[in-house]
């Protein structure tokens, strides 16, 4: 065994230090994608959850179909469709510059996918809210939409803050397949560096730790929020 080669290939901190700028901008791209997709997934997921408990059967059916489709399709497939299907076939260009359009295509695919999970999490939260809360809301004269918005959803959200944190952590890690939609983020950067300068252990751990720096605080934040915002009955 060639120990020099082993050292050069695997334990050489050189590439990691030399390319720290690229690593940093890779993660910036990951953060930009995560943040936008998280916001949109929460909004769309909430809307879907509202539709799933709505008294209008068409809305319920639409939302159910959406959730079942998106939740049971591999994310890579969805992102490939966004990247190839939406951009090339349908001729959809969010922006002229390819990297920008890759961003929005990845945001679209990732948030559409994550929204299905947000919806189901929130729906389980709605199920924890006692029926009497909705009845009281209706009794004071609040129409369905306001009962949901002012009484049911706020309590449902508080009940599922911790599981929502898990959904967001999964989403942050899922950004790593955004390359297939044409978006260049941290994992794509790592692959590029592996191709260019070789797959070294410091590079790998650098990226792995980079993801943890994003996900661990997310988990801690949501755990803390869950405790702080819990509704006592």
């Amino acid at each position: 065994m060639d120990w020099n080669n082993f050292y050069d290939k695997l334990l050489n901190f050189g590439p990691f230090l030399e390319h720290s700028n690229e690593i940093w901008s890779g993660f910036l791209a990951t953060i930009r994608l995560s943040a936008m997709a998280a916001v949109l997934a929460l909004v769309l997921g909430t809307l879907l959850a509202a539709m799933r408990v709505s008294p209008v059967s068409v809305m319920r059916a639409t939302a159910t179909m959406y959730v079942n489709t998106l939740r049971n399709t591999p994310l890579t497939l969805i992102l490939l469709f966004c990247g190839l299907g939406l951009r090339d076939t349908l001729g959809f260009m969010a922006q002229a510059a390819p990297t920008v359009s890759g961003y929005w295509l990845a945001v679209a695919g990732l948030s559409a996918y994550t929204a299905a999970f947000v919806c189901e999490t929130l729906r389980s939260g709605i199920n924890t809210v006692p029926i009497g809360q909705a009845e009281a809301a209706r009794s004071v004269g609040l129409p369905f939409s306001q009962s949901l918005r002012l009484v049911i959803l706020p309590q449902a959200f508080r009940a599922v803050i911790a599981p929502l944190g898990s959904v967001l952590i999964a989403m942050i890690k899922n950004t790593s397949v955004a390359l297939v939609a044409g978006y260049f983020e941290a994992t794509a950067t790592m692959k590029q560096l592996f191709d260019d300068v070789g797959a070294t252990v410091p590079l790998f751990f650098g990226f792995a730790i980079g993801y943890m720096i994003l996900t661990l605080p997310t988990g801690l934040l949501f755990g803390w929020l869950a405790k702080r915002m819990a509704v006592t009955r």
Binding site: G132, V140, L142, L150, V151, Q155
Partner: protein, 261 residues
């Protein structure tokens, strides 16, 4: 409290005799179970009607159909001459005119006591925050909870929560108040504080439909007792007549069970 009885009844007697709540030939099924059978009931303005009867007889269902928390299969329900709308905004508006107090209080768990009382007035009646707060504080004062306005429901005792629930309903200026066993979930020492608030309301002329087994309240505050068993109104009478001289076997049997102790 005994002394207040004649005063309570005088208000109703002087009140407008127009029907405020009218149920005509109301039928309701839960699946194949016939829970309300040909119910005809008129509650006049200022009247206090106490609904009693054995468990499972349909008292809660009757109460809940009046603000359409339960739909009905046949018949009509009029509130102040208007039929209950099927759904939507019109129903919501009509519901705001019918106050409801539940056995399990159902205060909004994520809102403070004050917010519980102001939510309806600000969102439904479109009162300003300041107006709503002022009135809420007056109502909370009246039920003796003003000093706890910033607390959350879980921090209050059952009796206090139920008094807040009454204030919350009153904040909507309802034409009629429905109470579904408002003291059944309370420890004995808290029952009186809630009944006192209800007796005051009755004395002030509020139209009330009260499902309760509190015979003291029924005797003191009710103008009429409606006895329901197996989904039917079996007997209707003044409290005096009903408690001393019930006509039906069902009512006699029921009274013998609850009055022996």
């Amino acid at each position: 409290m005994m002394d207040s009885a004649p005063a309570v009844k005088a208000v109703a007697a002087n009140g407008n005799d127009a029907p405020l709540v009218e149920l005509k030939n109301v039928n309701k099924y839960f699946g194949s179970v016939h829970v309300l059978k040909d119910i005809d009931l008129v509650v006049r303005r200022g009247e206090v009607v106490v609904v009693i009867g054995p468990s499972g007889g349909g008292k809660s269902t009757l109460c809940r159909t009046i603000n359409r928390l339960e739909s009905i299969d046949e018949g009509t329900i009029l509130i102040d001459g208007q039929p209950l709308p099927i759904e939507g905004k019109a129903l919501a508006r009509l519901r705001s005119e019918v106050g409801m107090v539940f056995q399990s209080f159902n205060l909004f768990a994520h809102k403070t006591i004050l917010q519980n009382v102001t939510l309806g007035p600000t969102k439904v009646l479109k009162l300003s925050k300041a107006q709503a707060k002022e009135e809420a504080m007056r109502l909370l004062e009246r039920v003796g909870i003003a000093h706890q306005a910033e607390k959350y429901p879980a921090q209050l005792s059952g009796g206090q929560q139920q008094r807040v629930a009454i204030a919350r309903a009153l904040a909507m200026h309802p034409k009629v108040m429905l109470f579904d066993e408002p003291t059944s979930a309370l420890d004995p020492e808290m029952i009186k504080e809630v009944l006192d608030v209800m007796t005051d309301l009755a004395r002030e002329g509020m139209t009330m439909v009260v499902v309760t087994h509190e015979m003291g309240f029924a005797r003191n505050a009710a103008n009429r007792i409606v006895f329901i068993a197996d989904g039917q109104i079996v007997e209707e009478n003044t409290p005096e007549e009903f408690f001393t001289n019930a006509q039906s076997e069902r009512a006699k049997d029921f009274l013998s069970k609850i009055l022996v102790h």
